[in-house]
C-alpha cells in the first residue's frame, strides 16, 4: 500500500538494476519536461525511465506491476490529446530509443519495426526499394510508428489505404502484467492485434510491429483547385467519390488556413482542394478527364496540375505546412479531428463555423475531405483565461455536434485526456461499460496509462434497439433466464446447430439490406444477408463490396474472418450481448480512433462474444481483387481471448463450444 511515490521508491532499486542507474531520472527537470506532450494537459510523473531495449522493458513492466506503480508509454510525445501525460504520476517509459527497423521484406510486403521508429525514417528506408508505408500523418517527419499505431493515426492517404490499424499485420506487445504476446491479424479468432495496439497504451505496451508496405505507385498526378466557396469544394469531393474515383488523397483547407500558410492564391478563392491520383496510366488518363469535368462543374476558380516530383511538392507545400502555419498565429494550437460521414460534411462544417463565430474563437480548418475528417485547428492563448474558457466551450460543442451527426469525435488523433469527457457524447453506457470491463480485465490494477480514454460519467440515453430485433432480444433474454446456451449461426454454411439442450439463434431471418448510400459509398445490411445478394444489389448501382461474394452471409463472413482484411472496411456494426443488450457502434464515417476497436475485435470472434445483427461496409467503384479466402477453422482461444469472453459473455452462453464448452 502507500502512495505512488513510496511505491516507486521501493521499486526503484530493482529498476535501477534492470536498466542501470543512469536511465532512471527523478530530478525535477526531467520530471517537468516529461509532464506534457502535444496537448495542453500537464501532469508530473514520479520518474522517467529511459528504456534501452525491449527485453528489459518487459522486466521493467513486471517490476512496476509487482510494486503497483502506474506507467505511461511515451515515444515522440506529439499527440494532440494528452495521451502521454502521466495523469496519475508514476513512471514515464521513454521508448524513443527503441528505434530499430529490424526487417524489411519486400517479397511479402511487410516491414518489422520497433515502436520508436520515426515514420519518415521508415519511408526513407523504403524509398530506394521502391516501396512505401501508407499511413502518412502530417506529423510523419517527427511522430513514431508506435505512437501512430497506439492512436490509429491517419493522413492524406487514409482514404485509399486505410489508417494505421489497417496497415498493421502483427505486433509484439507486453501486457500490464509483463507478459509478452505475439499477435497477428491473420490468426484465427478475434482480432486482438487491433484491440491491443490501438489502445493508446492502456491495455499493453507495443514493442514491435509488423507493418504492411506497398510498392510505390509510379504514376502520380496531383491537382490543386481553388473554389469560391467551401460548399463548392465539398460538392466537388462528393462528385469525385460518386464518380467512383478513389484518389490517393483528397485534401481541402479553408481561407483562414490558406492565409496562414502564406502561399499565394487567386483572388476570390475561399477554399482549396488537392487531389492526388496514383492509379495506373490508363485509368489515370480517364479519371483525369473526369476530375477536370467535375471541378469545372463545381465552379473551380483555378486548377493547377503537377506530374513531376518538384511540381507536386510545390502543390503540397501549403497543405503540409497548414497546422504549423496556424500555430504561428497564437501561442497555443488545439487541433480537433472530428470525422463525419461524407454526406453530412458540408452541413457539419457550416455548423462548426457557426460555433467558432458564437464563441469568437479563431480557427482554420483543414480537411481530409475524402474521408470526412475535419481538423478545426483553434489558435488561442492559454494565459488569456477568458479566451481559453471560450475555446473550451467551443470544443465541447463541436464534440456534441459531431456525436449528434453520427460521426466520431476522433478520426485519427485518439482520445487521451482531452476528449475523454466527450466519449460520453459518442457512446452510450452499454458500449462504454463494455470498454471499461475490457480495461479492467486486462489491467485490473489500472496501471497501464491509467485514466485515459474512458470517461468517468456517462450521459445520454442508451441507443434503442431497432424494431426488427425485438423478437430476437426477447428470445435471448428467455434463454439466458433459463440458463440455456445459444448456438449462433448465419446461413449455416460454416457449421450447423447441434445439441439438444441448446437454443438456435440464426441470423437467417435478418436478411434485409437496410441502406445503400452512393454518396458515402457504404452499404448497411443485416447480418443474415447473403454476400451474393448484397453484391447483386450493389452491382445494379455500379458499386462493389470490398471482398469477393463468397458463400454465406455477411455477418458470418465477418464473424468467421473469411477474409483477413474484411474488418478494414467495416465502418459500423450492431450487435447484441448475451444479456440482450443492444450496442451500435460507428456509422458511415470512414475514420475512427475513438475508444477501443470493438468492431475489429468481433472480426473472427466466431459468435462467441456477441450476436452481430448488422454491418455497415465501405464499397468501391471497382470489383474487389481476388482475395484469398481463408480456410474455416475454429480457433484455439488464448488467455486474452478468454478474458474478453468473460467480459462479453461471462456465463458462456453464446457458442459455448468455442471457449471450451462441449459442442
Amino acid at each position: 500500500m502507500g502512495n505512488i511515490f513510496s511505491k516507486f521508491g521501493r521499486a526503484r532499486r530493482h529498476i535501477e538494476k534492470i536498466i542501470g542507474r543512469a536511465n532512471v531520472h527523478c530530478d525535477a527537470v526531467s520530471l517537468a519536461l516529461n509532464s506534457f506532450d502535444g496537448a495542453p494537459a500537464r501532469a508530473l510523473p514520479h520518474a522517467v525511465l529511459d528504456i534501452p531495449d525491449a527485453a528489459r522493458l518487459q522486466q521493467v513492466i513486471k517490476t512496476l506491476y509487482e510494486f503497483g506503480v502506474p506507467y505511461v508509454p511515451r515515444t515522440a510525445g506529439t499527440n494532440h490529446d494528452g495521451g502521454a501525460v502521466p495523469l496519475k504520476g508514476g513512471a514515464v517509459l521513454n521508448l524513443s530509443a527503441l528505434d530499430k527497423i529490424t526487417l524489411i521484406n519486400t517479397e511479402q510486403g511487410w516491414a518489422e519495426v520497433e515502436p520508436g521508429v520515426v515514420n519518415q525514417r521508415l519511408q526513407d528506408a523504403l524509398l530506394p526499394l521502391g516501396f512505401f508505408y501508407a499511413p502518412d500523418p502530417a506529423s510523419m517527419v517527427f511522430s513514431t510508428i508506435g505512437g501512430n499505431a497506439a492512436l490509429n493515426a491517419g493522413g492524406a492517404k487514409t482514404l485509399k489505404y486505410g489508417s494505421t490499424a489497417a496497415n498493421i499485420l502483427a505486433a509484439e506487445v507486453i501486457t500490464p502484467q509483463g507478459e509478452i504476446l505475439n499477435l497477428s491479424k491473420a490468426d484465427n479468432g478475434p482480432d486482438l492485434t487491433a484491440l491491443l495496439t490501438r489502445s493508446e497504451g492502456t491495455l499493453c505496451v507495443i514493442t514491435r510491429l509488423r507493418v504492411k508496405i506497398l510498392p510505390r505507385p509510379k504514376n502520380l498526378k496531383t491537382f490543386k483547385a481553388y473554389f469560391a466557396s467551401l460548399e463548392n469544394t465539398m460538392n466537388g469531393v462528393r462528385d469525385i467519390i460518386a464518380a467512383g474515383i478513389l484518389p490517393a488523397a483528397l485534401e481541402a483547407m479553408d481561407k483562414t488556413t490558406m492565409d496562414a500558410t502564406q502561399t499565394p492564391y487567386p483572388a476570390g478563392a475561399e477554399a482549396l482542394l488537392i487531389i492526388e491520383l496514383d492509379s495506373d496510366e490508363k485509368t489515370a488518363a480517364k479519371q483525369e478527364l473526369e476530375i477536370m469535368q467535375i471541378l469545372a462543374n463545381n465552379k473551380a476558380v483555378t486548377i493547377e496540375t503537377a506530374d513531376d516530383e518538384a511540381a507536386r511538392r510545390k502543390l503540397w507545400a501549403g497543405r503540409r505546412a497548414a497546422a504549423s502555419s496556424l500555430a504561428r498565429l497564437a501561442p497555443n494550437l488545439l487541433s480537433l479531428d472530428s470525422a463525419f460521414a461524407r454526406s453530412s460534411l458540408p452541413e457539419s462544417i457550416k455548423k462548426i463555423r457557426g460555433i467558432f463565430a458564437k464563441y469568437n474563437v479563431r480557427a482554420g480548418m483543414v480537411f481530409h475531405a475524402g474521408d470526412g475528417n475535419v481538423h478545426p485547428n483553434i489558435v488561442f492563448d492559454e494565459t488569456n483565461l477568458f479566451e481559453a474558457a471560450q475555446v473550451k466551450k467551443a470544443v465541447k460543442e463541436i464534440h456534441m455536434l459531431t456525436a449528434q451527426a453520427g460521426g466520431s469525435i476522433s478520426g485519427e488523433h485518439g482520445i487521451g485526456i482531452e476528449k475523454r469527457a466527450a466519449m460520453a457524447f459518442m457512446f452510450d453506457e452499454a458500449a462504454l461499460g463494455l470498454m471499461r470491463k475490457i480495461k479492467a480485465a486486462f489491467d485490473p490494477e489500472n496501471l497501464a496509462n491509467p485514466d485515459k480514454i474512458l470517461p468517468i460519467a456517462t450521459r445520454g440515453a442508451p441507443r434503442a434497439a431497432p424494431q426488427y430485433l425485438c423478437d430476437i432480444i426477447e428470445r435471448i433474454k428467455q434463454n439466458r433466464a433459463a440458463g440455456r446456451a445459444m448456438i449462433i449461426t448465419g446461413l449455416g454454411t460454416k457449421f450447423k446447430t447441434r445439441g439438444r439442450d441448446k437454443a438456435a439463434l440464426s441470423s437467417a431471418g435478418l436478411n434485409q439490406v437496410l441502406d445503400i448510400d452512393k454518396v458515402n459509398y457504404t452499404v448497411t445490411a443485416q447480418a443474415g444477408c447473403a454476400l451474393k445478394d448484397i453484391a447483386a444489389l450493389l452491382a445494379e448501382r455500379g458499386m462493389y463490396l470490398p471482398v469477393p461474394a463468397a458463400r454465406g452471409s455477411i455477418g458470418g463472413a465477418f464473424a468467421a474472418k473469411t477474409f483477413a482484411d474484411f474488418a478494414d472496411y467495416i465502418t459500423g456494426i450492431d450487435f447484441l450481448l448475451p444479456d440482450g443488450v443492444f450496442i451500435s457502434l460507428g456509422g458511415k464515417h470512414v475514420k475512427n480512433s475513438a475508444g477501443y476497436d470493438l468492431p475489429r475485435l468481433l472480426h473472427g470472434s466466431m459468435g462467441a462474444y456477441a450476436f452481430i445483427t448488422a454491418l455497415t461496409v465501405r464499397t468501391f467503384a471497382a470489383p474487389a481483387p481476388k482475395a484469398a479466402q481463408r480456410k474455416f477453422e475454429f480457433f484455439r482461444p488464448c488467455a486474452q481471448a478468454a478474458l474478453i469472453k468473460k467480459v462479453f459473455d461471462s456465463d458462456n452462453l453464446f457458442n459455448p463450444f468455442v471457449f471450451g464448452g462441449a459442442q
Binding site: 515522440a76 502564406q262 480557427a363
Partner: protein, 383 residues
Amino acid sequence: MKINFDKTQPFMPAPTQGPGRKFIYNVLRGPLPPEESSRLCNRCGACAQACPVYKIQKREPASPRGRHQLLRFLLGRQFAAGTKKADILRPAQSCIMCGQCTAACSVLAPTAAHMAWLKYALGFCGGGFWRGLWSKIVYKFNKPAYTPPQGAQITAFYMPAAGGSAHYAASLRIIGKEHRGAEIMDEGLLLGRATLMQGAAAAAKILDKIKARYEALLCPQPPPIITDDIANYRALKLSTEIDEKYQNIAAAARFITDYMPPVKPPARTGAGRRIAVQDNNLLFCGDEIARRARELFICPRADFLLELNQSPGSAGLLAYGAQHADLQQLKRAFAAACAARRLETLIVFSSAEEKFFNMLFKSYYPYAKAVHITAAAEYFYEK
C-alpha cells in the same frame, strides 16, 4: 557584461526577480528572455528530429521542445525549492546551438538563443568566484548563433526574414535537410532570426559577402530599421542580448507601431460591426506590441482591432490584408504619420507589398522607401 537593453523598450524583459527568489530563482542574475518569447512554443515536437543532440540522446530534456519548455517553466516559476541548478543547466549545456531546431519550427522558436541566455543567467553567478570565472570563460567561448561566422567550420550566418513566405519556408527546409544554407543566402536574407549553420565549408565566398553586409549594419548610427514583422523585430532586439556589438542595430530596430499617431481608439460600438473571425488574415504579433498598438492606432473599425488585440500574442494590425479597406486605411495613416515627422526611413516588409507602399509614399511620404526584406540587405550594402 552589462545588461545591455533599454528598459523603456516595450519588448525587453526585466531581469527575473520577485517572489520565489529563495529558490533556484535567486541564482538567476543575468537577463532572461522575455516571457513572450518563452511562450512561442506550442509543443508540437516537430523540432526534435532536427536536433542532433536529441537524435543521439532520445530524451525530452535533450530535445529543443524540452529546452524551450524548461525556460518557460523557469520563467513561470514552476520549479520547486530544492531544484538543483545543475539539473536546470544540463539541458542548456547539452545544446550545441546549431539552430537546426529553429529551422524546423513553425514559430521559429529561438531555442539556441534561449539556451545561451539560460547558461549566462545561471552560470554567471553563484558557485563562488572560480565557478563564476569559469562560467564567464565558458560563456565567452560558447557564443550562440549570433556570432558572426569565423573560419571554415561554419558554413553560413543566416538571418532569414522570419514570419515566413513560402519561399522562406522552402529555403529553411532545404537548409535543414541538406545544409545548403549558404546557397540560399544569395537570394534572400537578413534582418530576421539568426540561424547558424555548421557543416561543410564550401561557401566561404558567400560567407564573406554576408559578413560584409552584416558588418555594414554595425556602423555607429544605422538608419532606423522598421519592420512590420514581429519576428524580425524580436530577432533584432534579441541580438543585443547576445552580443553587445549589435547594440546599434538593436537600438535602430523599430516596430511599425512606433510610428503611429498616438490617438486613443473610440469606444466600442455595437456588436454587429464585428468582422467574422474567419475572414481575417493576420500577422503574428506579440502581446506587448498589441497592447501598444491598441493605444496608438486610430481606426474606423476600432472595435475590430480591439477584438483582435484582446488576445495577446495575436493582432491583426498590419496584416497582409491588402483586401481589407480598414487595414489599408491603417497603412495610409502610418504613411501620413511618417510624413508628418519627416523621417528618413527605410521600411522593411516581409510581405511582398513594397509596390503598394511605394505607391502610397509617392503622394504621402516622399522621404521613405519601402523595400522587400530580401532587398533590404542590398539597400544597406549600397549606402
